[in-house]
């Protein structure tokens, strides 16, 4: 086709629209450009700046490191209920053991803290790691959206990372308070049951509704020892964290004094 014929083809107008193909293309580009720029300007000027608030989770796993015996039942239960497979690598709660440390520091329970400001959610570029409002605002990973960048794994401020990499299915995953357990016929999530809590025969894990203290570990490593059990060991009981050695010594002294007084009373 010669240049002239080509120009005629482009400039030929349509009897229906009265527009030539070139006019249509130019108009389409111009209108689209204007619409996008107009939308950007309007959105930037007309809409006030807004802050995005992340809802807090409706449940938090808290543990008692004094009660944990390192049986790893929680890890087995976690991988079994989520994956139908017995694999510590696929457990979203981890028990770490330090053979050189003394009790109670020889065992550490690394549970997901459902952080009020989740670094993993902020780090995710695709929204795969997100706050699920339908499941009690639990911080969880939508595997279908995960692109495997592992930014969530790196973003978690704790060691070991609470967001883990599933090398078999090639996506990140994390504790979801058992909101999605295809291999367990129980209702999970913040308002339901958790496999690790159910299976722990030491009752070293529990779920609490209130946001734990975020500074340090005191909010997530708490005293879950019952009054009866602790009294037998002459240990003070309470739900507000650790006691100093001086407080324990004072409690023991008070318990000894009470026992002596009881003996003396019987003697009389």
């Amino acid at each position: 086709m010669s240049e002239n014929e080509e120009r005629n083809d482009e400039e030929a107008y349509s009897p229906q629209s009265g527009l030539s193909r070139r006019q249509f293309v130019t108009g389409l580009g111009g209108i689209g450009l204007g619409a996008v720029l107009g939308g950007v300007v309007t959105g930037g000027l007309a809409q006030p700046a807004s802050a995005v608030a992340i809802e807090g989770s409706e449940g938090y796993l808290v543990v008692d490191g004094h009660k944990c015996i390192g049986c790893d039942s929680c890890m087995m239960a976690c991988s079994l209920t989520h994956h139908g497979d017995l694999s510590f690598s696929q457990s979203r709660i981890q028990i770490t053991q330090n053979p050189f440390a003394l009790y109670p520091d020889d065992l550490t329970v690394a549970q997901c803290r459902q952080c009020p400001f989740p670094a993993c959610v902020e780090a995710c570029p695709t929204g795969a790691c997100h706050v699920d409002a339908a499941k009690g605002n639990v911080r969880t990973v939508d595997a279908s959206k995960c692109i495997g960048c592992e930014r969530c794994v790196n973003a978690c401020p704790f060691t070991p990372s609470r967001a883990i990499w599933n090398g078999l299915e090639k996506h990140a995953e994390k504790c979801d308070l058992c909101a999605d357990t295809p291999f367990w016929n129980e209702k999970g999530g913040a308002g339901g049951k958790q496999a690790c809590i159910t299976v722990c025969h030491m009752k070293a894990i529990t779920l609490q509704k209130d946001v734990p203290v975020q500074a340090g570990d005191v909010g997530y490593n708490v005293n879950l020892r019952t009054k009866d059990g602790s009294a037998q060991l002459n240990l003070p009981t309470g739900d507000d964290g650790f006691y100093t050695p001086a407080e324990i010594a004072a409690a023991k002294a008070a318990a000894a004094a009470a026992a002596a007084a009881a003996v003396a009373k019987v003697g009389h």
Binding site: Y13, G30, G32, P125, T126, K145, I147, E150, R151
Partner: protein, 291 residues
């Protein structure tokens, strides 16, 4: 030529600066991903390309002395914006990980690579839609890219003759070899697929896209990436690395190929240009009916 060089240099510098900026801001705390804050640029670029095509006048191939105009200015622009965009997209996309290949980057580098990917996406979209709109306006240019029914036979004969087999007898080559036309189809389909799936992935930064859509879009995007990568490697090999492609590579900057080269490699095309030039065709602009 000087103006073209200046414009090209400015565009190249701008692109490099854009990539450097995109990489650096990823390491600043508190900054958003460009896919989150600049997604509107991905809508702007296609419309800008379409508008540019509407305002562009093409120049058909013509023999000028001892050289032939093969690629006019718009062709050069659409080639390099699409091509350089593709190169950077392939590199950053591969670095970000695909299928079973893990990400080659860590932590903030992932964010930085996504930002550079974004810059390349904008350039790529502009180039692709500029090309698409130009093709809509000049449909003959699209037709000459499509393989004919003799595509496979002529491809075998073309490369057979290249390897010294003289028994093959085929018509003189047109502007594009049949093998190039087949590769064009691959490039066309993979470009369309990568753009559609890419837009779906970006939509997930704005809306809550259902998981099953992302589960399909992401691996499809990866498959299209592999197809484009294969096409890219073959294209670079034949057009830039092998010496037989160097005249063509030069024409992608200057617009011209030597007449001798054109008569040797694309005799059918030269004959068509020369025969069209011999026929004066009067301009016929249809008159609009009176209102």
């Amino acid at each position: 030529m000087g103006r073209r060089l200046a414009i090209g240099a400015i565009a190249a510098v701008g692109f490099v600066l854009g990539m450097v900026y995109a990489w650096r801001i990823a390491f600043i705390d508190g900054t958003e991903l460009l896919f989150d804050s600049g997604w509107w640029l991905m809508l702007l670029a296609p419309f800008l390309g379409v508008l540019a095509a509407g305002l562009t006048r093409r120049t058909n191939p013509v023999v000028e002395g001892d050289r032939v105009l093969r690629h006019d200015g718009p062709a050069i622009l659409e080639h390099w914006t699409h091509g350089i965009g593709t190169l950077v997209l392939l590199v950053t996309g591969l670095a970000l990980g695909a299928f079973f290949i893990p990400s080659l980057l860590s932590q903030r580098q992932v964010w930085a690579a996504m930002n550079v990917h974004f810059v390349a996406v904008v350039v790529f979209l502009f180039g692709t839609f500029y090309y698409g709109a130009n093709t809509l306006l000049s449909r003959n240019r699209f037709r000459e890219h499509l393989p004919t029914k003799n595509a496979f036979r002529f491809t075998v004969q073309h490369y057979g003759r290249l390897l010294g087999n003289k028994k093959y007898d085929m018509p003189p080559e047109q502007k594009y070899f049949e093998s190039e036309k087949i590769a064009y189809l691959l490039a066309l389909v993979s470009t369309a697929v990568v753009i559609i799936t890419g837009f779906l992935k970006v939509a997930a930064h704005i809306f809550d896209v259902p998981g099953w859509i992302m589960g399909v879009a992401t691996p499809t995007h990866d498959i299209a990436m592999v197809a484009m990568g294969l096409f890219f490697l073959a294209h670079v090999l034949f057009a830039a690395i092998l010496p037989m492609g160097w005249p063509m590579l030069r024409s992608m900057f200057t617009g011209y190929v030597p007449l001798d080269y054109a008569k040797s490699e694309h005799a059918g095309w030269v004959k068509q240009i020369e025969s069209d030039g011999d026929k004066p065709v009067p301009i016929k602009v249809p008159k609009r009916p009176a209102a």
